[in-house]
């Protein structure tokens, strides 16, 4: 798919994310908007998958370790045709398949249930290891947050993946630098972050996480890298696309009201 098409989809899905959160009355806009461009690139450009056959054994796997940003994933899955777009309006409502955090039992096109931070990379590692063991050539992608790199399990997983030479595993770190109660550097600084991953024997790349061409190049390089996993440090902006949300920790876990939502949507639609 052309970059202009990816841009158009991302714009459309940013609107869907805002609409879903307004309807739900709660949820996490900031991190959903910071990771949507990488999700769009994965699902509409890079990944091998079949929306009409979600359990296709040879599909590439996607794990959203930062489960609170699942509105972005729901928007992508609906757009790709895994379920009807109308269902997005049921987010967080009673009896909905679209739980506040991913639940693969209710919505089987999800690979995993996540939402307790720090666990997703281990799940992705397991899938990659199973793929290698079965001599399958599928790839596994995992989006992790910056805040969750404060959890020890992330580093347990990061230590294990190179041991098993999992070059079929690619982690994208959504480095928007803001977590629930403030700036990551004030809560628990992660720097030097890229050095840490490098020291754990990952192939590392650093890109602008909103530049589609850069995301594509990085994903291609990850696929070509043999013998070890790749970590793509994606420099992103929390709340990207909505000026009053950008860089604001207040919009980590608060849904816009109708008026705010309308303003946000107008702003997104006005962007080129």
């Amino acid at each position: 798919m052309e970059i202009s098409d990816l841009k158009a989809i991302a714009k459309e899905l940013r609107v869907d994310i805002i609409r879903m959160l307004v309807e739900a009355g709660s949820g996490h806009p900031g991190g959903s908007l910071s990771c949507i461009d990488m999700l769009v690139t994965l699902f509409f450009h890079k990944m091998r998958h079949r929306p009409h056959e979600p359990t296709w054994p040879d599909r590439d796997r996607f794990v959203l370790s930062k489960g609170h940003c699942v509105p972005a994933l729901y928007a992508v899955l609906a757009k790709a045709g895994y379920f009807a777009r109308e269902e997005l309006a049921t987010l967080r409502k009673l009896n909905s398949r679209l739980q506040g955090h991913p639940d693969r039992h209710r919505l089987p096109c999800l690979e995993t249930s996540t939402g307790s931070l720090g666990q997703g990379l281990s799940l992705a590692l397991g899938m990659a290891l199973a793929g290698k063991t079965a001599q399958k050539d599928y790839r596994v992608y995992c989006v992790i947050s910056d805040g969750e790199c404060q959890a020890g399990q992330v580093w347990e997983a990061s230590m294990a993946a190179p041991k098993f030479r999992l070059d079929n595993l690619c982690a994208l770190l959504d480095y928007n630098k803001i977590q629930l109660s403030g700036a990551v550097k004030n809560i628990m600084d992660l720097e030097p972050l890229l050095d840490k991953w490098r020291a754990f024997n990952w192939h590392t790349l650093e890109i602008d996480g909103h530049d589609f061409a850069a995301i594509i190049r990085a994903l291609d390089e990850a696929e070509k890298t043999k013998g070890r996993p790749t970590l793509i440090l994606c420099q992103t902006i929390k709340g990207k696309g909505v000026s009053f949300m950008e860089g604001k920790w207040e919009w980590h876990g608060k849904a816009p009201n109708r008026e705010e939502g309308e303003r946000a949507i107008q702003e997104i639609l006005a962007q080129s």
């Binding site: 249930s113 590692l125 063991t133 399990q153 347990e156």
Partner: protein, 308 residues
Amino acid sequence: MGAKATRVAFGEALVRLGSENPDIVVLDADLSKSTMTEYFARKYPGRFFDLGIAEGNMVGTGAGMALAGKIPFICSFACFVIGRFEQIRMSIAYSRANVKIVGTHAGIGIGEDGYSQMALEDIALMRSLPNMAVIQPADAVETERALEYIVTHQGPVFFRLMRQKTDDINPPDYQFRFGKGVILRRGKDVSLMATGGVVANTLKAADILGQKGVAAQVVNVPTIKPVDRELIAEAAFSHGKIITVEDHGITGGLGSAVSEVLSELGRGRIKRVAVEDFAESGDAEGLYRKYGLSEDNIARKALELLQD
């Protein structure tokens, strides 16, 4: 003591089952020489993964492998693997990942290593998760038969094993039935319901009671969840007196499972024989005496219940 520890029977049976089912993979956290997964590791090095002393990641990795179609056995001391409750809760149970959690060295029977290595809360924790089965074999043959079942079970299982050798209490042709207790001895006065290695002590307690003119039924309860309600109800509606015996903390284990059924039935009385403190280092027999798991104490509890 008898022939074999349940962990050894497990390690041997896993090798055999591994040859029959290529989907079985085994993960360990630097304890394969103790959990006895080293037998499997030697036979199938390509299907064995040592994750190092990082059990949280082992839980998640196992879940990921299960979601990709494998049948992973994730193995460590019960206290260390079940200690990663939050990972088990999310990555295994809530994700409906078909992972088999094997916790060895359960209970105070491990002896000299002391409390830090003794799982005493593991059954309670695993029982609390909606789709988690909890199975604890009492001897080597039951370990083998239960393990054969576990491979076929769809969904997560916690398989609780012991470090020390245990007496053989089941016949060689024993058949494991998931969710069913096994009546080892009939008796009309009181039921002694036990799980794991202490089933052997419980049989001895029934001998002591027999000498005092008390006919005790002895029930082996290998499946703690789902517990055998029918068997508990039979005891509740006949003599109505039940003693539970387990090498686990007093809260949340077999005693609690049986108590829950009894209170729902509104019938029967129970006394629980279990560990009521953090325990300590020492020889297994001495520990069982001090913490009340000896046959003498089991018999004493039964007599107390009968005299109440």
